[in-house]
């Protein structure tokens, strides 16, 4: 198990390194730079001065080595856009994204998994309805989903149209702030969770449908064990392997921030930060956001692998036959 864990950790580190390096190199190689992105606010001389000050005139290799050296010392540089340390900016936004991601993950799990178990082990109109809804859910892109929810919120007033807290919540008690936050969560959380819930339902359904036909399930039934008990205690754990695989990706994707949902719903998270950094060609912030995203993806995958190893010991023993 320790060897397995080390292997996965090594993979996670490699992923973070590759993703942040690729982000830095690709942003650097694309036409234009931070100084050019200032538009017409600066004169040519000021633009050149800015390049000099920020080290944008350095060669690609110099920049990369300098950034890599900094990252090894946990110094991710200073954002050109905000003139603040990248690590501080990412820390603030990662917390906001984590709140949203955790809610969306819980929501997707609560909705997707039970429905998947139901549709995978039953037949008739209910199953057909669930499958149809999840097909629609999977097909709706997050942009359309979030715009639809924003429209719904504006028309009905059921929940705020956007933001993480309301203006009135600027100087309030902790509990009032929390209540305000909870009021703002449904819109972005639903926008993120609905397609994920639909994907989870589909995967869980297909997986459990296979599991319920396994010989050990038939044997349990033959011994007279109650059907619901057989499904939940025997077939469901055996069906979790593909679902947990998706879970890893879901965790990674959610925690690294969805810029579409965050921009449309004005949620101040990592996705929006990355989007702004990319628009402004803020090299170090882009690299920092990419590294954070890769870290969450690696952590999610690792968590999913550990869960998988917990539910299915064949994974770590190598006995997968």
């Amino acid at each position: 198990m320790a060897r397995y864990l080390l292997r996965r950790l090594g993979f996670a580190l490699l992923l973070v390194l590759v993703a942040s390096s690729a982000a830095l190199l690709l942003t650097r190689l694309a036409p234009g730079d931070f100084a050019a992105a200032q538009g017409l606010d600066l004169t040519s001389a000021q633009r050149e001065q800015l390049r000099e000050t920020l080290g944008l005139n350095q060669s690609l290799a110099e920049q990369y080595v300098s950034r890599l050296g900094g990252a090894l010392r946990f110094d991710f540089g200073e954002s050109m856009l905000y003139s603040r340390p990248v690590s501080a900016l990412i820390g603030e936004r990662a917390l906001n994204t984590a709140v949203l991601a955790t809610t969306a993950l819980l929501l997707a799990t609560i909705v997707g998994m039970p429905l998947g178990i139901y549709s995978g082990t039953s037949s008739g109109l209910g199953r057909a309805a669930v499958r149809m809804v999840s097909t629609v859910g999977v097909s709706i892109p997050p942009l359309i989903g979030s715009l639809g929810l924003v429209f719904l919120a504006a028309r009905t007033g059921w929940f705020p149209v956007g933001g993480m807290t309301s203006s009135a919540g600027a100087d309030v008690t902790w509990s009032a702030w929390l209540a305000d936050l909870v009021r703002h969560l449904p819109l972005p959380a639903l926008a993120l969770a609905l397609p994920l819930a639909a994907a989870l339902e589909k995967l869980q359904s297909e997986s459990i449908e296979t599991s319920v036909h396994e010989p050990f399930v038939a044997a349990s039934r033959a011994r007279g064990v109650d059907r619901a008990r057989v499904v939940l205690r025997h077939a469901w754990p055996a069906s979790l392997r593909p679902v947990l695989g998706l879970y890893g990706l879901m965790i990674g994707g959610l925690f690294s921030g969805s810029f579409v949902v965050e921009v449309v719903t004005s949620w101040p998270g990592l996705g929006r930060l990355m989007f702004d950094a990319l628009k402004a060609r803020d090299l170090f912030l882009v690299a920092g956001c990419a590294a954070t995203g890769a870290f969450f993806l690696a952590a999610g995958t690792l968590l999913a692998d550990l869960l998988l190893a917990w539910t299915d010991p064949r994974v770590t023993s190598g006995d997968e036959a």
Partner: protein, 583 residues
């Protein structure tokens, strides 16, 4: 075998957490609904909170080094000027300076500050702060974006402070806009930033991480909180100097909040939902139809300040070396080619297609929105595809094969590429409209949408065939935008920073602009600038098709609005704005 109970427990736990979350959300909603019953909303001119939107985050609160919209809006709320241009009348009005005199040679301005002025920390505002602000603007290490605006013919203005209430500005030469120059002067407190300027760190002063209590204000509001990615909140500045005619201390509002809403669609929805009172910028033409019914219901107001002073512009690369080896060099930089393009574009159809009817045809960069400097007597190239084809044929461009496009005698196709900013919907639509119109004349246009930074970089490097974009005007007086008109100017986009004028007509414009920038007789300045516009329209270094009509959206609770065509169109006189009741 004990994994299954754990899994079941996990599901149960998730269900419980979800249920509690739902309860909390539900109770928060109920609380809010209950709360609205307690609100007693008297219509009042004083008090209340105005909520506006901001599309992007501030990068700095230092207006001397950062000119973007968020910083400029911050400065509008927290800054005061010695002399301000009234955005509605275009005339200078007294600000921190209660009066001023101008010397007979129009080079020395002596300003007297009001008595008892104070920064928001209570420290007195004196002439030393004015001197210090200009020192910071001219400081090379500070890298102020205002430095060039405060140089006359490349030379700085001398500033002295004979006493605490007197400021003397001596210009190196006469300056056409006169005292209006001071509308650009943003003031910073000497007692707070003198050390930073001496240490060469002024460029980093007033960073967004600065605690709001340390940011001083002379304006109607002071920053009280900044939640990155969420909002900026401003409270009334009790030290603000202005009072209304009845002697009531301004501003009327208690608080202004800027909600950061990066997406323009979400911004409109929040205005519709009553969560915003004003928008950062004008309403897009495509949103007007959505907002009209709400206007009829009395929920929002659509205000039309006038015709925008920022028309869509289109220009070719006029740097001769760029085309020296290009087979199209014999015709692409000729003014007749540009005149043919101007004839080929139906401006009425452009206004209908790109601005959904909310635009007026224009024939030069100065639009009817700029009432003082606009001249209608310019060469107009009426829409006629036949006339365009005739001119193109005169350049040797005729259809020599079976395709839709014209060719010159050497076989080079009548084709060029045009760069546009990706994401600017009206400009992208405008470039596509241009492409479709020129197709009718047999000219092929390839529209290339790039990120703004990439377009700007290619423009400054001269690596482009043509660019379609919109330049945002910061001042109505052409002397304040001389960089665009002068051949040596950094904003002379078609051929930037020429050491000597490349053409005779650019030389003529340079000469006339001397009168516009240094003349003190308004009639002479206007005549000179009319001539500049005529030369421009004859030679068409840049083509202009349509200027949009501006529409500003506000919630119906907003009052005291005096709209302007210049940014910020509504908040420029935020101290006079009111809200009638809380939501």
């Amino acid at each position: 075998m004990n994994r299954q109970p754990r899994a079941l427990l996990s599901v149960l736990l998730i269900l419980v957490v979800g249920f509690l979350g739902w309860r909390a959300w539900n109770s928060a909603r109920t609380d809010q609904e209950g709360g609205t019953e307690l609100v007693v909303s008297d219509v009042s001119t004083r008090g209340g909170t105005l909520t506006s939107s901001l599309r992007s985050e501030p990068r700095s609160f230092n207006r001397l080094v950062e000119a973007r919209v968020p910083t400029d809006l911050y400065s509008t709320l927290t800054g005061a000027k010695l002399v301000r241009i009234n955005r509605a009348t275009g005339e200078p009005e007294a600000g921190l300076a209660e009066k001023w005199t101008i010397s007979p040679d129009n080079r020395t301005y002596t300003l007297t500050l009001r008595e008892g002025l104070a920064w928001s920390d209570g420290a007195p505002f004196t002439s030393a702060d004015v001197v210090f602000s200009l020192q910071a603007i001219y400081d090379a290490k500070a890298g102020s974006v205002l430095a060039s605006a405060f140089k006359i013919d490349g030379k700085p203005i001398e500033v002295t402070a004979p006493d605490a209430r007197t400021v003397v500005l001596t210009l190196p030469g006469t300056f056409g806009p006169g005292i209006a120059l001071l509308d650009n002067l943003h003031l910073v407190p000497k007692h707070k930033y003198e050390a930073a300027l001496k240490a060469g760190t002024f460029a980093h002063a007033m960073a967004v991480s600065t605690p709001p209590a340390e940011l001083l204000s002379m304006g109607p509001f002071k920053l009280t909180s900044y939640a990155p990615g969420q909002r900026l909140a401003f409270d009334r500045n009790p030290h603000y100097f202005k009072k209304d005619a009845a002697g009531i201390q301004l501003p009327y509002l208690d608080q202004v909040i800027f909600e950061i809403v990066p997406d323009q669609n979400a911004e409109i929805v929040r205005l519709q939902a009553g969560q915003l009172d004003t928008l950062q910028q004008q309403v897009r033409p495509e949103d007007i139809g959505t907002l009209r019914p709400l206007e009829q219901q009395g929920r929002i107001n659509l205000i039309e300040p006038g015709v925008s002073v920022d028309p869509d512009g289109f220009f070719f690369n006029m740097r001769a070396p760029y085309w020296s080896k290009d087979p199209r060099r014999d015709w692409i930089t000729h003014k007749e080619f540009r005149q043919a393009i101007s004839h080929a574009v139906d401006r009425e159809a452009y206004a209908n297609t790109v601005y959904l009817g909310a635009g007026v045809p224009v024939w030069g960069p100065i639009t009817p929105g700029n009432k003082r400097w606009f001249t209608p007597n310019l060469q107009r190239y009426g829409h006629s595809v036949d006339r365009a084809k005739e001119i193109l044929a005169g350049l040797g461009l005729v259809n020599r094969d079976a395709d839709d496009w014209l060719e010159d005698p050497k076989g080079a196709e009548a084709q060029f590429s045009v760069l546009v900013f990706r994401g600017n919907t009206s400009v992208e639509r405008g470039a596509q409209f241009l492409r479709d119109e020129l197709k009718k004349a047999g000219v092929r246009v390839d529209v290339v949408a790039l990120e703004q930074g990439a377009v700007i970089e290619r423009m400054f490097k001269g690596d482009f065939e043509s660019i379609f974009f919109v330049v945002l005007t910061s001042s109505l007086d052409p002397a304040m935008n001389a960089d665009f008109w002068l051949s040596s100017g950094p904003s002379h986009f078609w051929n930037i920073g020429q050491p000597t004028p490349a053409t005779d007509w650019e030389k003529q414009i340079d000469d006339l602009m001397v009168t516009v920038t240094t003349g003190v007789d308004e009639a002479e300045r206007k005549k000179a600038f009319d001539d500049v516009q005529k030369i421009f329209a004859d030679n068409l270094p840049a083509l202009y098709f349509v200027a949009p009509r501006l529409y500003m959206g506000t919630s119906s609770r907003v009052g005291g609005v005096t709209p302007s065509i210049l940014r910020p169109q509504l908040l420029w006189n935020v101290e006079q704005m009111t809200v009638t009741e809380d939501r």
